[in-house]
Amino acid sequence: MADRADIIRIEGLNKWFGQFHVLRDINLTVGAGEKIVICGPSGSGKSTLIRCINQLETHQVGTITIEGKEIHAEMKNIEALRAQVGMVFQNFNLYPHLSVLDNLTLAQVWVHRVPRREAEDRARHYLERVHIPDQAEKFPGQLSGGQQQRVAIARALCTKPQIMLFDEPTSALDPEMIKEVLDVMIELAEEGMTMVCVTHEMGFARKVANRVVFMDDGRIVEEAGPEEFFLDPQTDRGRMFLSQVLDH
């Protein structure tokens, strides 16, 4: 079972918000370089699941192992662990009081102890990779939603994470900006980054995902390759979800 290349192992994960059982018996492994797309109706627990991976949410039962190290709420070096995992949020969550460049260098300088000059070089490098090299001096409020989300991706990449988590990265975007963000994510996938994405972008899932995980009511209901899942879902709930997502 214990595959050396597994970078994330989740076993028997359960989580409650008060009395509400939000995650039930989740088992999931992610190999290095794998791209996982998690989808499912809203309230199915998919965001909570990826937020458990970097412990933005703490779980009560079960284990999460990242690169062989078990993580939990009381651990000492939780910050060091989080530093290996990059996260992109639905609402970008850029720091509005800092310039784009400072958004990108802050964690490098103060968490990873990268010298400022090197941090800035790295920041500009990643801004170039997300195709907005000339916005470094601006403030987040001066950018479009698509640009902000690409800055957020660059910010997460700056600290050279092993794993990238995407929590509905395109849900808050206008339609014409979704593509520019997805393009950046596809490029990132092609470079071999390990990615766990909560998204309803089925085109993206088809293109890059190794596996699609379908969740409903806190459980993983189906787990399959994208073609298998999209063409031949094995459960009624999977079929129903797909018909709602794909039919318009």
């Binding site: 989080r82 530093a83 949020f89 609402n91 969550n93 509005p96 009081h97 968490v111 409020g141």
Partner: protein, 367 residues
């Protein structure tokens, strides 16, 4: 005087607006506004000449009490004669250069705030605000570096007002920030302590705090342990205003969206780094008006130290106007007007600075 009311291209430029046209447009656009204009002009006509006459034309600038009694205007001669005392209190005249030097240090520290571009500005400002009280204490109190000791009971006047105000401000902000953070802490012991502290100090008048610090505290302190009266007052002022400030800061903290905390946490920052770099800079700038409100209150509340026998600007003016060689109604009024002007100057300067600060910070994040 040229008048341009060109606000973008949506309105036609008001070219060739004459003085009469301007008056018509701004002062008499319709009969109700016109009536108001007339009323205001009439009120000014009634009050201004008397005020100017009292303040300047009929005022006595040099002389003694008898000159003031004879004149119908203000008695600035009194302020002139007591100027040294009003500014320096009972500080030995030959050592007043030390007070001047420390005021200069204060001005220099404030000037740093206005330098638009300065490498590591945040650290320089923090450093100078930490250095300021140390330097000022050494200068004012002496006792080291070969400086003669001047006990705090000789401090007074405007200088004492500044000491209490600046110490209150510098002390209250960090206390307020820590208490606000503590009140939102997950750790029950810290939270309970902070809530108790804030609610206790907020619920009593400053006079009570000062009185406690001055009269009660020495009774509780161990034998032979004496703490300077001024220092006790300063601590009281800082704690009291720290509690007020804590609630202002807490309001700012609550306005920060959860996503900011999550983004900082996800990037590997611990609690203090997250607060220092992400949360507090945003929280504090949203509550600048509230912070300045508290700061203005601190400046004005310095007058309360009179209650524990310290003579601030107002206290020393009050002592002056009741001294036998200057007893006269116009002297009393002039003294209080002078003291009021001193406080107004400080508070107005502060509020102007806060406006400048808000402008500058908002320029950075146009939306």
């Amino acid at each position: 005087m040229t008048v341009t009311i060109d606000r973008g291209s949506t309105t036609a430029p008001a070219s060739g607006l004459t003085v009469l046209g301007w008056i018509h447009r701004n002062l008499f656009p319709d009969w109700r506004q016109g009536l108001l204009t007339v009323a205001v002009i009439w009120a000014l006509w009634q009050t201004l000449p008397g005020l100017i006459g009292w303040l300047f034309l009929d005022a006595v600038w040099r002389g003694d009490r008898d000159d003031c009694v004879a004149a119908s205007g203000a008695c600035w001669a009194f302020v002139n004669a007591r100027w040294g005392q009003f500014i320096y209190g009972f500080y030995p005249p030959e050592l007043r250069w030390r007070v001047n030097l420390s005021m200069l240090a204060l001005v220099a520290t404030i000037a740093v705030l206005f330098i638009p571009r300065l490498p590591h500005k945040g650290w320089v400002i923090t450093g100078s605000f930490i250095a300021l009280p140390v330097v000022s204490f050494v200068l004012l109190h002496g006792g080291i570096l070969g400086l003669e000791v001047v006990q705090t009971d000789r401090w007074g006047g405007f200088m004492l007002t500044l000491v209490v105000a600046v110490a209150g401000m510098l002390g209250a902000l960090p206390i307020g920030i820590l208490m606000a953070l503590g009140r939102r802490s997950n750790m029950p012991a810290i939270r309970v302590f902070c809530v108790t502290f804030i609610e206790l100090f907020r619920a009593v008048p400053l006079i009570t705090v000062l009185f406690m610090a001055s009269v009660m505290l020495p009774l509780f302190m161990p034998q032979g342990f004496a703490m300077d009266k001024l220092l006790r007052a300063l601590i009281g002022v800082a704690l009291f205003n720290g509690a007020l400030m804590a609630e202002v800061v807490r309001g700012g903290l609550q306005s920060i969206p959860r996503g900011q905390f999550e983004a900082a946490t996800a990037s590997g920052m611990g609690y203090w780094k997250m607060m220092l770099f992400i949360i507090l800079p945003q929280a504090l700038r949203t509550v600048i008006p509230g912070l300045v409100n508290t700061y203005v209150a601190i400046i004005k509340d310095t007058t309360l130290v009179l209650i524990i026998g310290l003579f601030d600007l107002l206290g020393i003016v009050q002592a002056g106007v009741s001294s036998s060689d200057w007893l006269a109604p116009s002297v009393t009024i002039s003294g209080y007007v002078f003291a009021g002007f001193g406080f107004w100057l400080l508070c107005f300067g502060l509020s102007r600075y806060s406006m400048h600060l808000e402008d500058r910070l908002n320029a950075g994040r146009r939306r």
